[in-house]
């Protein structure tokens, strides 16, 4: 059962990621990215992280991607036109990617090959209580600094996006 879920949602994630890279219109890329985030959220559920899975959907897929889609709709971004690409890039691109991935797979299998297995519900420490407790005791300083970061981001976005007063 774990294998089935991993293969199914891993396959959906990879197909949607390929779609993000290959689609011409930005809205199609954005929707494929939402598909990637949704399947990664299911993989989080299998890895025993229910809070992070829901936070992924609420924050990432439900707010950040809405922002992307708003900007694409407001700017009326059309399909991207094809410019000439160098022949070396086109010929060697995909084989180079395959070699890169093969190397990474070999090294992952060598270093983390016996790192254990993931079964559903074999890690129960990812509940909201545990995450909240760790966030407010061990990681309190990064938490407060992050709130300052968000404030800076809000101010930056407002200053950049408002109309100039003449």
């Amino acid at each position: 059962m774990d294998h089935l879920f991993f293969f199914l949602f891993g396959f959906i994630a990879v197909v949607c990621a390929i779609n993000v890279v290959l689609q011409k219109h930005p809205i199609s890329s954005a929707l494929s990215l939402i598909g990637v985030m949704g399947s990664i959220a299911v993989l989080y559920l299998q890895l025993g992280a229910p809070f992070i899975a829901m936070a992924q959907i609420i924050v990432y897929a439900g707010a950040v991607m809405v922002l992307f889609i708003f900007v694409i709709m407001l700017l009326n971004a059309g399909s991207e036109e094809q410019r000439g690409r160098s022949w070396t890039a086109q010929l060697l691109g995909i084989p180079a990617l395959m070699v890169f991935l093969g190397l990474i797979a070999y090294f992952i299998q060598r270093w983390f090959g016996d790192a254990g297995v993931v079964k559903f519900d074999n890690f129960q420490g990812g509940t909201a209580q545990n995450v909240g407790y760790a966030l407010f005791t061990d990681y309190l300083l990064p938490f407060e600094v992050t709130s300052v970061l968000i404030l800076v981001a809000i101010l930056g976005a407002i200053v950049l996006a408002r109309k100039e007063l003449d």
Partner: protein, 396 residues
């Protein structure tokens, strides 16, 4: 294996009941608005217009589904499907009552009890924005685009006070699972005031309840916040290019969202399936009492009919109500039916408030609506959360 079969059966029952409820919710809405406006509402199709939803479904299915040539086909077809999918997904974590035992199998009256249940509801309402934004954009029409963008901006702005208003009773309950939240609201203060979240001990969550209801009106695009999709504003907004089943899908998504937020308000604030006064003081007989009174009223009006066919239909309804009231008195069905009755009564009351407000209030202008969310509701919800947190920390 047994778990899968039971869950499939529960899913089928809940899906069927939900879809019928959505259709008849529209009938209730039309009748209530009509009676508020001193007219009769649907009364021709079947007795008291009860077959009107059936007629509407047949009309919508058989209407010509126009696919305009200038739309972006894939997203045009995806948007209503996405809206309905996300709206119906929220119902899967809502508990309707305590456990039920049939043919030796015990199961809870809920499709699945996640330990982050309330976050699933918030996630699905966040994803519901896409159906509307894509529907508005895919129609390739500047009025739909503006309507879709306005509606999406309204929904994501009101998600903030909604989430903060939801966080306050969660602080008091201490858990994210919907069934546990209701179980924490059991018991009575001084023996007769229920320990619901709006009467909670450290800080009664009445402000959070009001903020939640106001945000719920805006989240589901209902009056007074329905400017982006009203028929006389911006040419009906984002669903102007949709016809027949796709339009029905958007409509169904809106009603399903309404049912979801009313159920969540019942579970978080009004104590879910718990009775308002203790069983020892006779709260188990309320359901039967209401149904017997309804039956008596129907039979009385059947004997002095206002319309000629009422002589035949009203007594039948009266007898049905009496039968239902008698079923509610049967001792071995009481532990199963009573919690279900209280949950449905409270949710039904909140849905009636939704319809009542639709019949009564005018709608807000768009800048008034956004200013209200960001400048008033969000700070008030934040203040409520702070005060709740402070009092909970002091009380423990």
């Amino acid at each position: 294996m047994e778990f899968i079969v039971i869950t499939l059966i529960k899913t089928a029952i809940i899906a069927f009941v939900l879809l019928t409820t959505l259709a008849y919710l529209q009938w209730v809405e039309r009748k209530v608005i009509a009676h508020v406006q001193v007219r009769m509402g649907p009364s021709r199709v079947g007795p008291h217009g009860l077959l009107q939803p059936l007629a509407d479904v047949i009309k919508l299915i058989t209407k010509e589904g126009v696919l305009p040539p200038h739309v972006n086909k894939f997203f045009y077809l995806l948007a209503p499907f996405f809206a309905v999918f996300m709206a119906l997904l929220s119902i899967s974590v809502i508990p309707f009552g305590t456990s039920i035992t049939l043919f030796g199998h015990t199961t809870a009256m809920q499709m699945t009890d996640l330990n982050v249940g309330i976050l699933v509801i918030l996630a699905n309402s966040s994803m519901g924005v896409y159906g509307i934004a894509l529907g508005g954009w895919a129609s390739n029409n500047k009025y739909s685009l503006l309507g879709g963008l306005r509606s999406s901006a309204q929904m994501i702005s009101y998600e903030l006070p909604l989430s903060l208003a939801v966080a306050s009773p969660l602080l008091i309950a201490g858990t994210l699972s919907l069934r546990e939240i209701v179980n924490m609201q059991a018991g009575y203060h001084f023996g007769f005031i229920p320990r619901w979240a709006i009467f909670a001990y450290p800080f009664p969550q009445i402000f959070a309840f009001i903020i939640f209801m106001i945000s719920a009106f805006a989240e589901t695009n209902r009056i007074p916040f329905d400017l982006p999709e009203a028929e006389n504003e911006l040419v009906a907004g984002f669903h102007v290019e949709y016809s027949s089943m796709k339009f029905a899908a958007f409509f169904m998504a809106e009603y399903a969202n309404m049912v979801t937020v009313c159920s969540v308000a019942t579970l978080l604030f009004l104590g879910g399936w718990l009775p308002p006064w203790p069983v020892a003081y006779g709260s188990n007989f309320v359901a039967s009492a209401i149904l017997f009174v309804a039956g008596a009223v129907c039979i009385y009006h059947g004997l002095n009919p206002a319309r000629p066919f009422d002589r035949y239909t009203l007594p039948v309804f009266g007898v049905m109500f009496f039968g239902l009231g008698a079923v509610m008195l049967v001792p071995f069905m009481v532990p199963v039916l009573m919690p279900l009755f209280w949950f449905l009564a409270k949710t039904g009351f909140l849905l009636f408030v939704f319809i009542w407000i639709r019949a009564t209030l005018p709608r807000f202008r768009y800048d008034q609506l956004m200013g209200f969310a960001w400048k008033f509701l969000f700070p008030v919800a934040l203040l409520n959360l702070l005060v709740t947190g402070l009092l909970v920390a002091l009380a423990s």
